[in-house]
Amino acid sequence: MTGTLRALLAALVLSMVFAAPLAGPALAVQPDEVLEDPALESRARDISAGLRCLVCRNESIDDSNAELARDMRLLVRERLVAGDSDEEVVDFIVDRFGEYVLLQPSVTGSNLVLWLAGPVMLLLGGAIGWSYLRRRGRAGETPADALSEAEADRLREIMKE
């Protein structure tokens, strides 16, 4: 299903973006967008990979071929050429489009829950696992099997075959 639906949605987004059917899908980053300075361009690509295309589904503006994504890519490059640092560019975009454009949510406020969920769960799981292992290690061999005679026979038979 994953693929089916994702394709369906991708198709839908595509068809919305290309309201008038074009000859073919445009590429994400167009040759005319690429900056002269390779260092600056590589920074632009890194920043773009972390920004969400607002009209797409879970695509970064670097991957998306939507018009809006192109505008945002151009905006990022414009700011970089103007001499902004990476953080300033991102802040500039977030100021205009909101927190929603960040593909990596900030580590602030309620988002701490998201970021700490993994580590806390790992500690919790580790603690439970540890105490379980300790208990198993300490418990003496339980004397008899809880299986009845007949059941044990049948189990042996299954195992043997």
């Binding site: 073919g24 899908p25 590429l27 589904r57 879970n58």
Partner: protein, 657 residues
């Protein structure tokens, strides 16, 4: 007429499922053999009726019967036959029918090969499977009926989404469903055993093949989907951490945890309650996956045809089964006494670590997937959780898993000696370090991702080899003994090595990919990572149901022509949709990936080329993992335990407990 028969068969199957959900359960409770025995023919009948219904829908698609709404919306008379057939499940209604067909198939499977199950357990398993059937039949009949007619049939259909007209994607859903629904079987076994009040080694042995099969199918399904995204979406991404992808990844992780903990139940009668809990949760994640993909709540950015009715129904099904399963679990938790005793350093402990890592990793994916929803509802913060988060939060678990896996896999049951195991793995470790160091020395960038990935890959593969070799004893003809090792041993080694290969592939591709975007005039060349690519021609060609602009690109390395690539841009006039068909020169060490874009004002063409190192290792590793699972599944002890008709005769004579 055939359509109506199909519809009728579906309704009948629903009724059979209703009876199957109740009668055997009462029979098992009251110890009435006749009522219990009802489960088997009911499961068969349910499967036959659903298969009939599915065949009727397929027939409608094959003959392009546009009086059926579903066929009109998703097919076209000019579509190639393969995609007419796969179009049956290339839409919501048809895919649900396939889903329920697989539910009944697994039920019938348990009826055919469950000869050695105690009669009460078998009756209960089939009854629970019947309940799952009831839920999905009701879902289809009341919210997603594929057999609706059109009042005025059109001359032709609206065609299947062109992105779906592709072999990779055509067979991706059936495999995924076999995986998702395979987990319904483990759920049925868990619930039946809880009702029965008995979880023992035999239960572990019965439930493991279904888990293993489900996991193998999920592996294949996810692999196919990722491969499709790689070559079809036009920029060679293989995993996007999209909610819909995560929906299939979470059950995969949980199933991986479950198939390991079931070994502990089977061999050592420990971790029973945890395993039962996992079996319930695994199916829960399958259901959550179905809910995510079909309700559209998590993809709400754009008004995709979200259907609240379907979403609510699925949520209801999920809630009922999860609440029911977990309540039963809580009520019976005290009867699951662990038996086996083991020390801190042992295979059991290693598998506990495996389960913690896989479980927490699945939890991280789950939280990340639903966080946008939670955050918007509870904190009024509209935000996105995308690939950068998952890469950062998920990867550490896989790195640790890769590090400890070869050690844990070689520890003996009950009590092990870490030093001895580490000693036998020292050459594997040195080899892996050497590979990682070599990668570090050769790469130009300073990212640790590539070297770490290759180190883990080499460590897992060589660790698996050492493990296998160590099982052949100390002397004598070890090579011939290697061939005669149980298939489960081979399966374990192959699957673990496959995980290593996939890890190396993912890391290598992400770390060392290079890309070139430029305008090429016909006849011009560009250079990419030592390859020279020349755009020889761009021409128009006609496909069966599309028009295409095809580029002709020559690939040369060191003055020697390697191949000619034909990247295409297709346009499907009926669906009014363009697609890109990347051209890929596939190699063991790297792919060269070419996409042709739009014509430019000055006469050239936008051309994107990628050099993708180790790309195919990702899917090669997935194939190895699936193969390992299949080898394990074909191990003698399951073939015997599952297929024995003799055992059935014996158990038939034993009165119900």
């Amino acid at each position: 007429m055939i359509t109506e028969l199909g519809h009728f068969a579906l309704v009948l199957a629903f009724l059979v499922a209703c009876v199957q959900a109740v009668v055997p359960l009462i029979g098992a409770h009251r110890r009435w053999p006749g009522w219990m025995a009802f489960a088997e023919p009911a499961a068969n009948m349910q499967f036959l009726l659903t298969a009939l219904s599915f065949a009727a829908l397929t027939y409608a698609f094959v003959t392009s019967d546009f009086s059926l709404k579903l066929v009109t919306l998703n097919s076209h008379s000019a579509k190639p036959m393969l995609y007419k057939i796969t179009g049956v499940w290339g839409n919501h209604e048809g895919s649900m029918l396939l889903w329920v067909l697989i539910v009944t198939l697994f039920g019938a499977f348990a009826a055919w090969f469950g000869g050695n199950l105690p009669p009460t357990l078998k009756a209960r398993v089939l009854a629970v499977q019947g309940m799952i059937g009831v839920a999905f039949f009701a879902f289809i009949l009341f919210t997603s009926n594929p057999f609706l007619r059109m009042a005025v049939p059109p001359f032709d259909g609206q065609d299947l989404n062109p992105l779906l007209q592709d072999p990779g994607l055509a067979f991706h859903p059936p495999f995924l469903y076999l995986g998702y629904v395979g987990l319904s079987m483990t759920f049925s076994f868990a619930v039946a055993a809880l009702i029965e009040g008995r979880i023992d080694a035999a239960w572990g042995r019965w439930v493991r093949p279904y888990t293993l099969a489900a996991w193998v199918f999920l592996t294949i399904g996810i692999g196919l989907g990722s491969w499709w995204a790689y070559y079809e979406l036009g920029w060679g991404g293989f995993w996007f951490w999209d909610p819909v992808e995560n929906a299939s990844f979470m059950p995969w992780l949980i199933a991986a945890a479950l198939l390991h903990s079931a070994i502990v139940v089977e061999k050592r009668e420990s971790m029973k309650s945890w395993t039962v809990l996992l079996a319930i949760i695994a199916f829960g994640f399958s259901m959550v996956g179905a809910f995510i993909t079909r309700s559209g709540v998590l993809t709400s950015v754009h008004a995709f045809a979200t259907d609240p009715e379907r979403g609510m129904f699925l949520l209801l099904i999920t809630a009922v089964f999860m609440l029911g399963g977990l309540t039963l679990f809580a009520a019976r938790a005290n009867m699951m006494q662990a038996k086996g005793v083991f020390s801190l350093v042992s295979r059991e402990s290693a598998l506990v670590v495996n389960n913690i890592l896989l479980g927490v990793a699945a939890f991280v994916v789950f939280v990340g997937t639903i966080w946008p929803l939670v955050s918007e509802m509870l904190f009024d913060r509209k935000l996105s959780v995308g690939a950068p988060f998952f890469n950062m939060a998920f990867t550490p678990f896989m790195v640790v898993l890769g590090l400890v896996l070869p050690l844990g896999a070689m520890l003996p049951w009950k009590r092990g000696n870490l030093r001895r195991v580490a000693g036998s793995l020292r050459y594997a470790f040195v080899l892996a370090l050497a590979v990682g160091a070599l990668a570090w020395a050769m790469q130009s960038g300073r990212s640790a991702l590539g070297p770490v990935g290759l180190f883990l890959g080499a460590w897992l593969v060589s660790g698996a080899a050492v493990d296998l070799w160590g099982r052949t004893g100390r002397s004598g003809n070890r090579l011939s003994r290697l061939g005669r090792l149980p298939r489960a041993d081979w399966g374990k080694a192959v699957a673990h090595a496959g995980l290593g290969v996939t890890m190396a592939g993912v890391a290598g591709l992400m770390a060392w990919e290079t890309e070139d975007i430029r305008v090429l005039q016909v006849g011009e060349s560009l250079e990419l990572s030592g390859y020279e690519l020349t755009l020889l021609d761009v021409r128009e060609i006609d496909g069966p149901n599309y028009d295409s602009t095809q580029g002709v690109v020559r690939l040369v390395r060191d003055g020697k022509e390697i191949s000619t690539l034909y990247p295409e841009k297709r346009f499907y006039p009926v669906a009014k949709m363009p697609t890109t068909e990347a051209a890929i020169d596939i190699g063991f060490w790297r792919d060269v990936y070419v996409v042709v874009g739009d014509p430019q004002d000055n006469g050239g063409w936008a051309v994107r080329t990628y050099y993708k190192p180790l790309a195919n290792w990702i899917w090669g590793g997935s194939i190895l993992m699936a193969l390992g699972g299949a080898l394990s599944l074909s191990d003698r002890r399951y073939r015997v335990a599952a297929g024995a008709n003799k055992a059935r005769a014996v158990s038939g004579g034993v009165p119900a407990e």
